[in-house]
């Protein structure tokens, strides 16, 4: 029986081996694709096995060491605990569908070979596994970070003949290296102060040493450790797209990459930043350093940054008219929710008390749940955007329309994903946001400003809804555009093939499942927290929202908040049945007609109301938030009929 750590190392090497393999067979697109998928799936199985073992209570007490070279003080130290497990599950859940999706999707990049795709994809995945499990804050952090950054760079500039993509990739590379430097300097600083504070020789970069040195460090060198933690926040903030850093690279990088990679970038990669944030701020300190560690201040900072991030990201997304760029800005926005949840957890922990602990757990649970949910629906959305790109050849929402008739399955999954991210009840986005809201609102009795942050989050969810009504409406609903009609006429079929449908359906099903039975996710996270023996993890596990009950809903520990989506779904279905009966009761006949255009004008491309027109007033009112869509025009090989000379606003 493998230990979890062995399984993960196995998965990492499997992926690396797979990279070599796919590079070797890259001349056959289809073969390379299936090989990559099989490797991904196998590694995923290994990782899931590891996770299952952790959840079953089999987590190792100590990090496992591989590749030891005692002479150099070098060893690959991995540890799979509950926190890692949650993120690992997410990686697998996103990577496998993305790999499957890629097999057919990569066909439409006829001018580019897959030799520069699959190997990088697998290395990228391996790095993710590694980064989420390593306990080494310096060497292996660096190695995995670069293993993730470099293939990411290559994947973003996959279509390297488009200058814009190369620019985006360069920006990404630059920001990632800055983040790497910030995080490593922070680690070095901690190690130095740790050594100085305890008087022990040698620099220790692993979590255990730092954790044990932390109390002494905080007492003797509070400034140095504050700087170190500040650097961590910056480093991981850059990675996860926190305001103001995210806006520099994320909206350019995500649209540039091929869609399955965008799904990985947005669904998993930026989550490693969130992982880092939680790992360094909640798992390094522990209840033992409660008095010394300025948890309240860091928490307030994270809450503030999270609130700003969620609002600005979403507001800027509202102005976008390119499908994937819109989604990329929403990644920033949704990261804001995760930060808000984590930050609320931190400030409530600092406040202490029973209610503080309970709500802190709710906040963290919400953040982790949202990590999972966001990974699922955002990956799905990027796959949907990929299907749109595959079908219409454009990312420009202005030129799409009426695709629901031609791509019904993609439309249905996109609808589910849009409702999920917009926080519509009965979909998973609401379930996790509900936790964050509850933590903020009921937590305001302990920490006043949380209520206002919660309100901004609620406002932002309306903005998200607006944005996704535009995304979904402009592409799938409204009327067929000229482009869509032409593509349909020339290709005969626009809906993507089965191999691309399966991943979309899988992710959509996951969204619905977690939406109606959020207890699944809550139980998973609760178990995960119980299996985190260091830091605050275990202490928090006690307070997660109770689940179960008649509808497998979630209830706050003291019963101050309840949410049973299955019950809501039941009455909603009842209401729908009544509505259905009422609409049939009159026996009215049906007829199809053209939309009414006042009797003279004929329907045409000019009088389609396009994505550019939506929400003009709100966009104008919040112009100061920034995030112009200009410069976002995606260069296309097809004839671009739209110029750049438009006025914004």
């Amino acid at each position: 029986m493998l230990t979890p750590e062995q399984a993960v190392v196995g998965a990492i090497f499997l992926c690396l081996g797979g990279a070599v393999l796919t590079a070797a067979v890259a001349s056959s697109r289809r073969l390379a694709g299936w090989a990559a998928f099989l490797v991904t799936a196998l590694s995923g199985a290994l990782v899931l096995a590891a996770v299952a073992r952790v959840f079953a209570g089999g987590a190792s007490e100590e990090p496992a060491q591989f590749l030891q070279m005692p002479a150099l003080g070098f060893a690959l130290r991995l540890h799979v605990d509950g926190l890692s497990a949650v993120f690992l599950v997410l990686s697998v859940l996103v990577a496998v569908p993305a790999a499957l999706y890629g097999i057919r999707y990569m066909d439409h990049y006829s001018g580019y070979g897959v030799g520069r795709y699959y190997p990088y994809f697998l290395v990228f995945l391996a790095a993710m596994y590694g980064l989420l499990t390593t306990t080494d804050m310096m060497w292996f952090f660096f190695i995995f970070w670069q293993m993730m950054t470099m293939p990411g760079y290559a994947l973003i500039r996959y279509e390297h003949r488009i200058r814009q993509n190369v620019r985006a990739a360069n920006k990404y590379l630059l920001m990632m290296q800055i983040a790497c430097v910030a995080t490593m300097v922070g680690a070095e600083l901690l190690a130095l102060t740790g050594a100085a504070a305890t008087g022990a020789g040698g620099l220790k970069y692993d979590f255990e040493s730092v954790r044990s040195n932390l109390p002494a460090m905080l007492q003797t060198r509070p400034t140095a450790s504050a700087i170190a933690f500040g650097l961590f926040l910056i480093g991981f903030g850059i990675k996860m797209g926190m305001w103001p850093f995210g806006q520099f690279w994320l909206p350019d990088a995500h649209p540039a990459a091929p869609s399955p990679v965008s799904a990985m970038l947005s669904g998993v990669m930026i989550k490693t930043g969130a992982y880092g944030l939680m790992r360094y701020f909640l798992w390094l300190p522990s209840p033992a350093v409660r008095a010394e560690f300025p948890m309240a201040s860091w928490g307030a900072l994270v809450v503030a940054l999270g609130t700003i991030t969620l609002f600005t990201g979403t507001m800027q997304a509202l102005r976008q008219e390119q499908s994937k760029r819109l989604l990329a800005f929403h990644s920033i926005g949704q990261i804001g929710y995760i930060m808000l949840g984590a930050g609320a957890c931190m400030v409530l922990l600092a406040k202490g008390g029973s209610i503080g602990a309970t709500l802190a757990a709710v906040g963290l649970c919400g953040a982790l749940f949202h990590v999972l949910n966001h990974g699922l629906f955002k990956a799905l959305l990027f796959l949907n955007a990929g299907s749109l790109l595959w079908a219409t050849g454009t990312q420009d929402l202005n030129r799409m329309g009426g695709l629901v008739r031609l791509m019904p399955l993609t439309a249905a999954t996109a609808c589910i994903a849009s409702f999920s991210i917009a926080g519509v009840p009965l979909f998973n986005g609401f379930a996790s946001k509900w936790h964050i809201y509850v933590a903020c609102i009921t937590g305001s009795s302990a920490v006043k400003y949380l209520a206002v942050c919660g309100l901004i989050a609620i406002l932002t969810s309306a903005l998200t809804l607006a944005s996704f009504m535009k995304f979904f409406g402009a592409s799938f609903l409204s009327r067929s555009s000229k482009l869509v009609k032409e593509r349909f006429a020339s290709r005969g079929r626009l809906e993507v093939g089965g191999l691309m449908q399966v991943p979309q359906v899988f992710l959509a099903a996951a969204c619905v499942l977690l939406g109606i039975w959020p207890a699944l996710g809550v139980v998973l996270i609760g178990t995960a927290l119980r299996q985190s023996h260091q830091g605050w993890g275990e202490a928090l596990a006690a307070g997660t929202t109770a689940s179960g009950g008649a509808w497998w809903g979630v209830t706050l520990d003291n019963g101050a908040a309840v949410f049973a989506p299955a019950g809501v779904a039941l009455v909603l279905v009842g209401g729908l049945l009544v509505a259905l009966w009422v609409s049939r009761a009159g026996g009215a006949s049906r007829r199809i007609a053209e939309p009414w255009l006042c009797g003279y004008a004929r329907e045409g491309e000019h009088n389609r109301y396009r994505a550019h027109g939506y929400y003009g007033e709100i966009k104008r009112l919040f112009r100061w938030v920034g995030g112009g869509w200009r410069g976002s025009m995606v260069e296309e090989s097809a004839v671009a009929s739209r110029g750049n000379g438009r006025k914004s606003g």
Binding site: C598, A601, R602, N607, G643
Partner: protein, 565 residues
């Protein structure tokens, strides 16, 4: 005096280019100009002497002079003077230099002249079809004398006959009309909308052009035309009725008796009353304030009743004949009218106060649909639109007719140049109209109401008449002719000019403001169309194609006795 001054100025500037000048009175000046100098003469009048552009008329004068004729009419409102710059064009090449780049307000009139008479305005900045329907064949100009009045060519009905402009980048075209809840009559606007902001528009109107002018020039007689003229507009019909009668009277130097002039004044003001009351109600309806809409209509109703008592109809009074009026106002009617006015005045005080003090109405109208004095000048805007921009023009005072030179009234102006200003102007004009009617009733002296016409009216004379309709100046131009009918009759309703100002009013405005900005000119598309509404019988399931309708019209007319043809 003023006429001689202007003529002197023109003679001095253009010398031999001025071929001939007729000064029928000191309030009318007809200058015949060499075609090549027309544009410069117009520029001098419009830019240097600051005349107001009124209208351009094209006429087929070939049966008499062998030429086509073009007249550009201008007004000097301070000098009580109307000037017509005329020129004759050879029959084989009816082309004249466009004046639209100098006088932007001439844009429509020159396009209409090209469409209907076939006189090409060379160098027109926007030479698209204006009046003729989409599929109408090129080269067939209905107002030419060699085209029969009931000519009905086969039109291309595929809709391919007219190309609309492309909207600016980033804009969606929002079709507005012809069937739209706020439009009582058909007209089509293509609004270029970016989000909620209107970036521009294209207008396609004249959808129900009936050709009343052609009918008058070929079928009707002098005294039939007033009845037809009245049907040009459903609201300000009496204005056209009076304006036509006055232009003919002026051409043949016939003066109606004083009592008739007072009665004309009373009826015109009654019409202004019900029109303004209607407008205020509609404006409130457009901005969603239905209570005031209903109240305005309630207050208006007695005006309609008294009009019916006087003329037999709530509308279409059938008032004028050449040389007088048909209905007298008896002393009983006069008393009743006075009571109606008293009640109206007190009720209108309430409504006006409610309208003017309502914050929401102010919010929806202030700064909306702005047409400032320069737009008024360039586009030739008139009536309450001009007065709301502080341009103090009113034909009742500036070009007095009927009994307006014998009554006292204020010309209401405002400075804000927006919809709010137009609202204030119209609301206050109601009180002035009440006062005018009262004065007329007080001065109404016994006497005849018609001047008898002893002999045939002389042919080839020109007549101009400007009447201040509720919406602005209605301008009629008549060339008298043979067979008891005019050779040419051109109607320029106020909406014709005011509509041309709409694009600049709604540019960069909110879409929601478009309807109220359009409403603020009190648009009367039928006025521009010179049409008759087609009565659609309810319950008929057959869909009438244009071809069916034409066939039906032909059948109907073949069975009818057409007088004097």
């Amino acid at each position: 005096m003023a006429a001689r001054e202007k003529l002197g100025f023109l003679r001095q500037r253009f010398g031999a280019a001025i071929i001939r000048a007729d000064l029928t009175s000191d309030r009318r000046l007809y200058v015949f100009v060499e075609p090549r100098s027309v544009k410069e003469v117009c520029r001098a009048l419009f830019r240097e002497l600051d005349a107001r552009y009124v209208i351009t008329i094209g006429a087929d004068d070939r049966p008499w002079s062998g030429c086509f004729m073009v007249a550009h009419n201008f007004a000097f409102d301070r000098d009580r003077l109307l000037v017509s710059v005329m020129c004759l064009l050879p029959a084989d090449s009816p082309r004249i230099e466009s004046i639209s780049d100098v006088v932007p307000a001439a844009n429509w009139a020159e396009r209409e002249m090209r469409d209907l008479v076939g006189i090409e305005a060379v160098g027109h900045p926007y030479p698209k079809r204006l009046v003729l329907p989409d599929g109408w064949p090129e080269g067939l100009h209905p107002l030419r004398k060699d085209v029969e009045w009931d000519e009905a060519p086969d039109c291309d009905e595929s809709g391919a006959g007219y190309d609309f402009d492309d909207p600016p980048e980033g804009c969606t075209v929002v079709p507005f009309g012809p069937f739209h809840p706020t439009l009582d009559e058909p007209a089509h606007f293509r609004l270029y909308v970016e989000g909620e902001t209107v970036r521009g528009c294209e207008y396609r109107g004249f959808m129900v052009h009936r050709g009343i002018e052609k009918l008058a020039e070929s079928v009707l007689g002098y005294n039939d035309i007033p009845i037809m003229a009245e049907r040009i507009c459903g609201i300000c019909g009496c204005v056209h009725n009076v304006a036509y009668a006055q232009s003919v009277e002026e051409a043949v130097a016939l003066r109606p008796p004083p009592r008739a002039e007072y009665i004309r004044t009373i009826m015109l003001e009654l019409e202004r009353l019900h029109s303004h009351l209607l407008w205020v109600g509609l404006a409130c309806h457009i901005v969603g304030f239905d209570t005031l809409f209903m109240q305005a209509f309630r207050v208006r109703e007695p005006v309609m009743w008294i009009a019916e008592k006087i003329s037999g109809n709530r509308k279409t009074y059938g008032l004028c004949v050449i040389g007088g009026v048909r209905w007298d106002i008896t002393s009983e009617l006069s008393d009743e009218l006075k009571t109606v006015l008293d009640k109206l005045e007190s009720e209108w005080h309430n409504v006006a106060r409610a309208v003017k003090n309502d914050k929401n109405i102010q919010r929806r109208t202030c700064g909306v649909g702005v047409a400032d004095a320069s737009v008024v000048k360039e586009m030739g805007l008139i009536g309450p639109v001009a007065r709301a921009a502080g341009v103090d023009i009113d034909c009742r005072r500036d070009h007095p007719y009927a009994a307006y030179d014998r009554v006292d009234f204020r010309v209401i102006t405002a400075q804000s140049a927006d919809v709010w200003g137009r609202l204030v102007v119209r609301t206050d004009e109601v009180f002035e109209s009440i006062s005018i009617i009262r004065q007329c009733l007080a001065r109404l002296e016994p006497g005849p109401i018609q001047t008898p016409i002893k002999e045939d009216l002389p042919a080839g004379r020109f007549g101009l008449s400007s009447v201040e309709a509720p919406r602005g100046e209605s301008h009629h131009f008549v060339i008298t002719g043979e067979n008891n009918r005019p050779r040419r009759w051109r109607v320029r309703a106020p909406t014709y000019q005011n509509l041309q100002g709409v694009p600049s009013m709604i540019r960069d405005a909110q879409l929601a403001d478009m309807t109220i900005a359009l409403g603020s000119i009190d648009p009367c598309f039928s006025c521009t169309d010179r049409i008759e509404a087609v009565d659609v019988r309810s319950g008929a399931v057959k869909v009438w194609t244009p071809r069916d309708l034409r066939e039906m019209a032909k059948r109907a007319q073949s069975g009818r006795h057409i007088k004097d043809s």
